[in-house]
């Protein structure tokens, strides 16, 4: 087994099995780190908690809901305004967060009455919002408040309201992933099948494991609508609570982030016979193949093909402009979970970079199977990395850029590695054809930044070119590029707008006549 032992972790031997370096001829039967095990205390892991996985990652992107956390105020404060999941209703879910504000007396005497008062207050403050999710936290789990009972009581007393309860305290699992699981299962058990949706197309999908980071969901939904597909619900980015109650009526579950949302797809398949189709919204080929697959499923592949042709004609010259200038650049792909496999192969194939390392903060071995498979030989794969291992890896690998979270990004900055936000993106969205070019553009801007180059110079030792007043990115990136590429009239830099999403909200779509009123194209 090609385990990689970090110098800094020799004193915690159990870490040895959490990193592998894929060698020649290695495959998943010989090369896979352990994963999703309890964290080693004091290791300065990057993991979060199960409450965050449930509330912050999956619950809150739902846009038309009062999201209340039942506990002291910190959990709520901490999981507010630290993500970029937008919505087309003026970002209600980003702007408002609710805490029951549990204090010492409630810990002693119980906080159920407090919870009920909170629910009533919140509905009163936002009279147009009739939907609510309640999240348990460590404190209220430990004192044993019966949140479900209170929610039931309020629903009976306040007709027209609907409340979802998620019991996923912070300690429930090794990482935020425990919370992903809990909220998936809680949603299908409590809410799916409680509302019959209106079916408006012969082709109906749930779009699952998609959180509308910087507008990803809206970009993808644009393609689906252009194909005449009804997106019954999105779990959960830009998603609507009531739409998600009708998930059981879709013909197909299109799954994006399997890490956080495969559970509900698997349960929907088992309980309702709805197939699960895993897709990749990132990368021209993976995205094109994904659209084709959905088209094939519904017998409308030509609609997918038309979109693919149009989009590729529009964006390929721009992607290739960047690919020529990113070739061979070394990348550390250090996200939370799914991007390690969504991106690993696609960025190498389509942007010419080399992934020298992947890691996952909260992923399972299943994610690493995908990531390790999609990486090339020699890539270092790390499960639940910690601060010192990250620094050692950066020192060893000397990447040109790192894709990771905000806080680790600051750490990378200090060792002169430019960073892009893998969770929230820099200037996204990164899904869709245009989005993929935006990603390439952001990578280019990070790697070839004149400021980055200046930061590497030691004025006390290095030669300074005193005659130079500035450097453009192209003076850096095009050095050594063949003439025909530098002067190419085919290739061009990104030409899209700063905001590539808002305009989609105003768009109208062609009407596709339905096969026959009342019948559905796909056999149930």
């Amino acid at each position: 087994m090609p385990y990689h032992e970090f110098e800094v972790s020799k004193v915690i031997p159990e870490r040895k099995q959490h990193a592998v370096m894929k060698g020649a001829g290695e495959d998943l039967t010989s090369c896979l780190p352990l994963g999703y095990l309890n964290t080693i205390p004091g290791s300065i892991s990057e993991r979060g908690c199960a409450y965050c996985g449930a509330k912050h990652v999956i619950g809150t992107p739902m846009k038309d809901v009062i999201h209340i956390s039942h506990g002291p105020v910190g959990c709520t404060y901490d999981t507010w305004q630290t993500k970029r999941y937008i919505s087309d209703n003026d970002n209600f879910q980003l702007k408002y967060t609710f805490a029951t504000d549990v204090k010492e007396k409630h810990i002693v005497f119980g906080a159920e009455k407090l919870l009920k008062q909170n629910i009533v207050e919140a509905f009163k403050a936002f009279p147009d919002t009739k939907r609510m999710t309640i999240y348990q936290t460590c404190a209220t789990a430990l004192i044993g408040d019966d949140i479900d009972a209170i929610a039931q009581e309020v629903m009976e007393e306040m007709p027209g309201t609907d409340i979802f309860v998620c019991n996923s305290p912070g300690f429930a699992g090794p990482s935020q992933s425990g919370g992903h699981h809990k909220i998936n299962i809680a949603w299908i058990n409590q809410k799916v099948g409680t509302l019959e949706p209106e079916i408006t197309s012969d082709y109906v999908i749930n779009y699952v494991g998609e959180y509308n980071i910087q507008g990803d969901q809206e970009v993808m939904t644009d393609y689906f609508k252009r194909m005449g597909i009804q997106v019954l619900s999105t779990f959960t980015g830009n998603g609507s609570y009531d739409d998600l109650r009708g998930m059981h009526r879709a013909h197909l579950n299109v799954l994006e982030c399997a890490r956080s949302a495969e559970y509900i797809c698997d349960e929907l398949r088992e309980r309702y016979g709805i197939p699960r189709l895993d897709i990749d919204g990132f990368g021209f080929k993976p995205l094109a193949d994904s659209l084709r697959k959905i088209g094939l499923f519904f017998g409308i592949e030509e609609r997918a093909e038309a979109i693919i042709q149009e989009e590729i004609a529009r964006w390929q010259p721009e992607l290739d402009w960047y690919k020529e200038r990113l070739r061979g650049k070394k990348v550390c792909l250090w996200p939370g979970g799914s991007k390690l496999w969504h991106w690993a192969h696609a960025i190498q194939e389509e942007m010419g970079v080399k992934v020298v390392s992947v890691y996952t903060k909260f992923g399972h071995q299943g994610d690493m199977e995908k990531g390790v498979s999609r990486c090339g030989e020699g890539a270092l794969a790390i499960d639940d990395p910690n601060e010192l291992e990250g620094l050692e890896a950066l020192d060893m690998l000397k990447p040109d850029v790192i894709f990771t979270g905000k806080r680790p990004g600051e750490m990378a900055k200090k060792v002169n590695v430019p960073y892009l936000n893998a969770h929230a993106y820099h200037n996204g969205p990164y899904k869709g054809f245009e989005g993929w070019v935006r990603f390439a553009r952001d990578i280019y801007n990070a790697i070839h930044s004149p400021i980055h180059k200046l930061s590497l110079i030691d004025i006390s030792k290095d030669e300074i070119d005193a005659g130079k007043g500035f450097q453009t990115r192209r003076m850096i990136s095009d050095e050594g590029l063949p003439e025909e590429i530098r002067k190419s009239t085919e290739l061009r830099e990104y030409t899209g707008k700063y905001d590539s999403v808002s305009a989609l909200r105003e768009k109208t779509y062609p009407e596709f006549p339905r096969a026959e009123a009342g019948t559905e194209a796909v056999a149930e």
Binding site: G42, C49, G71, V73, T100, E104, I107, C138, G170, F171
Partner: protein
């Protein structure tokens, strides 16, 4: 025309102004050299605090978690503290101080952190780390008590209490800054230098504004040393600038070692800076030098340019850390502005007897409300539904949408300020801070006039 001090009239919190106690203790912890805090609780209690620090300072700080999981929550998790301390010490050879910071979960399950520390001191530290200086400090910060403010206050006291050791008088004063920015520490140190006063600054966080060196310089650390903390017992006086952030430590030193304590005022604005210098003078016998007379005059020159022409009568709402909010309100009043709403984000019962607030109650001649245990809905609801008119909002970034959605100009001040660049670099304290604040406020109003085409031509001849 009245000024009322009252508690929020709802039980719940819609958009919190503060986070909880452990965050305050963690902020203290990163201010100490060779120190990594171990937070005993779920991982989110650390991960998110590290995130918010990195959002504000654009730096990464080291803080560890005991990573409480399900089994620990059921059977007790003291073992995870033991393991965490060992792992930290084994991997970070420079670490000497590990505060063990509790959270709601581990306080509810009743883990005996003090007992664990005794056990570690008698066992692990003697056996495995015998030739190493290691200090384990219990800091009890259950999240359901107080807020990040009291967490800060408690942690400063506990650090001082642990280390303070009387030996020889050190000829210094202790200056406890409260929850401030690197820019503030720099400004305070400048004032001390001009006054020729030697001080132990708690906590020395000027280095949080750290460089990007060509050879790589990974992590930002605070600069307060163990010796600094020890010698707090040998100072001839303590000045705690903030009543709610650091005063506990000053009072403890006074009680325990008879070190005279002066609490406040937060040196925001000209008048409070004057008082601060006056206190320094009284405590040390050092005169206020001509250089500061001149520095003050430069500030007053700048303030005069904007005060009665632009700032006068502007209605302002202020939220955030209590001493900051009160200091800002006092300064605004001197600038002829009208603070109409102050929001203090926790339920500290001492607020209603705060002499500074009582003075406002006594003297302001416009309608003013001070809301304790407040949230952002107390601000937004008043603007949207209750006819509150504002010209300006002062506060941290978590309230940004109240300003944005209601078209009210806002000056970012306090913690956290992640939606404006470099705010941590500028002081709000001292004469320098007074100038910066007043000019920020004026410029925010000017930009707003231009966007709204509201007498924007007035600036043609200013």
């Amino acid at each position: 025309m009245t000024c009322e001090i009252k508690e929020k009239d709802r039980v719940g919190t819609i958009n919190p102004i503060f986070t909880c106690q452990p965050a305050g203790a963690q902020f203290v912890s990163i201010g100490v050299k060779d120190c990594i805090g171990l937070v005993h609780g779920g991982q989110g209690c650390v991960m998110f605090v590290r995130l918010i620090f990195s959002q504000h300072y654009k730096e990464s700080f080291e803080l560890a978690s005991s990573s409480l999981h399900e089994d620990g929550a059921v059977f007790g998790a003291c073992g995870r503290v033991e393991e965490g301390v060992d792992v930290l010490l084994a991997r970070y050879p420079d670490v000497k101080v590990i505060p063990i910071i509790t959270t709601c979960s581990t306080e509810v399950i009743g883990d005996d952190v003090d007992g664990v520390i005794r056990k570690l001191n008698d066992g692990l530290l003697k056996e495995k780390y015998a030739d190493r200086e290691v200090h384990l400090i219990a800091i009890h910060t259950p999240s359901f008590v107080g807020s990040m403010i009291s967490g800060y206050d408690v942690a400063v006291r506990d650090f001082v209490k642990y280390f303070a050791t009387p030996t020889e008088p050190n000829g210094k004063i202790n200056l406890i800054t409260g929850w401030v920015n690197p820019g503030d520490v720099k400004a305070l140190k400048h004032l001390l230098k001009e006054m020729d006063v030697d001080a132990t600054v708690l906590f020395e966080i000027e280095s949080f504004d750290s460089p990007l060196m060509p050879d790589g310089n990974a992590i930002s650390h605070g600069g307060t040393t163990i010796d600094d903390l020890r010698s707090t017992a040998n100072a001839f006086g303590t000045i705690a600038l903030n009543r709610y952030e650091g005063a506990k430590a000053a009072e403890w030193l006074q009680e325990e070692y008879k070190i005279p304590a002066v609490i406040g005022p937060t040196p925001i604005g000209i008048r409070n800076t004057d008082s601060f210098l006056q206190n320094l003078k009284k405590m040390t016998g050092k005169p206020i030098p001509p250089s500061l007379v001149r520095e003050r005059a430069v500030a007053l020159d700048a303030l005069t340019d904007v005060t009665h022409m632009f700032l006068a009568e502007k209605k302002v709402a202020i939220y955030g850390n209590p001493d900051l909010v009160i200091g800002l309100a006092e300064f605004c009043i001197d600038l002829e502005m009208k603070p109409v709403l102050l929001l203090l984000g926790d339920d500290n019962v001492r607020y209603k007897n705060d002499p500074r607030l009582l003075a406002m109650k006594e003297n302001v001649d416009w309608d003013m409300e001070v809301v304790t245990n407040a949230d952002f809905w107390d601000l937004e609801d008043r603007i949207k539904n209750k006819g509150l008119e504002l010209d300006l909002i002062l506060g941290h970034s978590k309230g940004r949408f109240v300003a944005i959605d209601n078209n009210i100009p806002m000056v970012r001040v306090g913690f956290p300020t992640y939606d404006r660049a470099g705010m941590y670099r500028y002081p709000v304290v001292g004469y320098e801070g007074a100038t910066w604040l007043a000019e920020q406020m004026a410029n925010a109003l000017f930009t707003d006039m231009e966007y709204k085409k509201n007498k924007e031509w007035i600036l043609n001849v200013w």
